[in-house]
């Protein structure tokens, strides 16, 4: 048998051996390798990293870093605010929020908190700072303009009028 053919059969044998290793070694190795690449999910979906938390007596408001769309992405820049836990929220929330942390309130966010988690939410946002866009009776129109309940958190995304 020629050397080339011997190498070919060796490679084929190693492939069969690799098949044996897939569930016990290779799959985990590649999964961990992928996870270690330092990739992150697009902030248009994840909402960006949390930068500050405002604590009230019963609940807290997490303020995220503003998210800006890439290239031709069909969304507006926005900032995400999380009210948590939903169980501690009153039946109607109306909060003045200092989004940029300069000590002055930037927006007033108002929404009802229905007891049934499946009831659609609507939010009103009054812009006290022209950087933020007002919203009236908004549900979940776009990733950059919505109010939704995710598990025990109510998320509000407010578009930026002047990024």
């Amino acid at each position: 048998m020629k050397l080339r053919a011997k190498l070919a059969y060796t490679a084929a044998g190693m492939t069969v051996f690799a098949a044996l290793l897939v569930p016990f070694l290779l799959m985990g190795l590649f999964t961990n390798g992928f996870a270690a690449l330092g990739l992150h999910v697009d902030e248009m979906y994840s909402g960006g990293p949390k930068v500050r938390t405002v604590q009230t007596s019963a609940y807290s408001i997490d303020i995220h870093r503003p998210v800006f769309p890439h290239m031709l992405q069909s969304e507006r820049p926005f900032v995400q605010l999380d009210w948590r836990p939903v169980s501690a929220l009153p039946s109607h929330v109306s909060d003045l929020v200092d989004v940029d942390g300069n000590g002055q309130p930037d927006i007033r966010v108002s929404f009802d908190v229905p007891s049934d988690a499946k009831t659609p939410l609507r939010v009103n946002v009054e812009a006290l700072n022209p950087r933020y866009e007002a919203m009236r009776n908004v549900g979940k129109e776009k990733f950059s303009r919505l109010i939704v309940r995710v598990d025990d958190v109510i998320l509000v995304r407010v578009p930026l009028a002047h990024p």
Binding site: R4, A5, L7, A8, Y9, A11, A12, G13, T15, V16, A18, A19, L20, V22, P23, L26, M27, G28, L29, F30, T31, N32, G33, F34, A35, L37, G38, L39, H40, V41, D42, E43, M44, Y45, S46, G47, P69, H70, M71, L72, Q73, S74, K140, E141, F143, L146, V148, R149, V150, D151, L155
Partner: protein, 390 residues
Amino acid sequence: MATEARILKPGGTAPRTIGRSLLLTLPIALWSLLMFANPQRHSNRSLQIASLITAVFMIALFFMMMRTTSTYRWRRWFFVALGILFPVGFIHTVIMMRGTMGIPIEEMIAGRTPFCYLPIPLLILPAAFTKTLVFPGSILPGGGMSGAGMAAMAGLWLAITLVIGKGWCSYACFFGGIEEGMASVPARAKLRKIDPRWRYGPWAVLLAMVLLSLALFEPAYCLWLCPFKAVSEYVAARSTVGMVQNGIFAVLFAGLVIALPLLTKKRTQCAFFCPFGAFQSIFNKTSVFDVKIDRARCSPCVLCKTACPTFSLTDESIARGETLMSCMKCGACVDACVKNAIVWHIKGTEVACKPERARLMFLYAAWGMAVMFGGSIIAEGLATILHVFV
């Protein structure tokens, strides 16, 4: 004699003895037991029974492959079962978890969008340029609807691709079985004259979707063109755009996965449209296994070309003694050849040299992956049926 004739492939290779076939099946039987003897399954009786049935099914099919030396028709049973049972298990899971097949925006924000392998090629450029995955899922194990996360699917895909290359499309893809099942329904193709330039369709779709995904920063194929959204989960129709998207999914599914396979007896979605299939073709170049034509034996009668479900054989490629890079190693051409001229092959060896050895080595690798990945999906689907109806 009549029974023997029925189990022979057209080329007339004599069947193996039952004892030798059993011996060759033994490694796969042990592998199947290893894969399905998962202690976690023991808590769920439906899954336990389904796993047992699946293991017997996979072992029996491999035995028949060994006994008859025919590959395609036995593999097809597995593949069609996978294509039918994946949506059964998947739809049941999403309905149980969120009450609808439509994925709401809050599930996307929560990173609970199930991630299949089809968008993998679309994520590469945005990830390379910005380290961002343009998919509303979770990266790490523990995330995603199944708890697996994108990293787990990427790891599984990479590992299986390393072993069987484009063979993924015949032994691991949980969508292709639907159209393969449809293609096997009619006795003859009603639509035979198909412009060969349609073969470039998947490459065109791949290029367009990769560029669109980079420009729009969204998984464009999943949002606009995936026919299998019709049998997995669709965009929750919150607006006119959502309804248009769902209309496109339904039309593509009805056309490419149901109607055209019935008319052409081909896997038309895979052959003309699937961008993942085109991407996976690249890995045919890295795989050690391929399918070759022994030109000394070939007439050429082009039975292989007619049998190929993805138009991966042309008159020119037959003259060159090889398949096109879109060949997914399903074995249809090898089974169809009456002269045993088209054979399984290990790159670097002589074409006519021990093709059955090459077939065996490929099948051990490919069927091992089929049992591990496809088998577990079949078992989940069967368990759903057992759980719901029995």
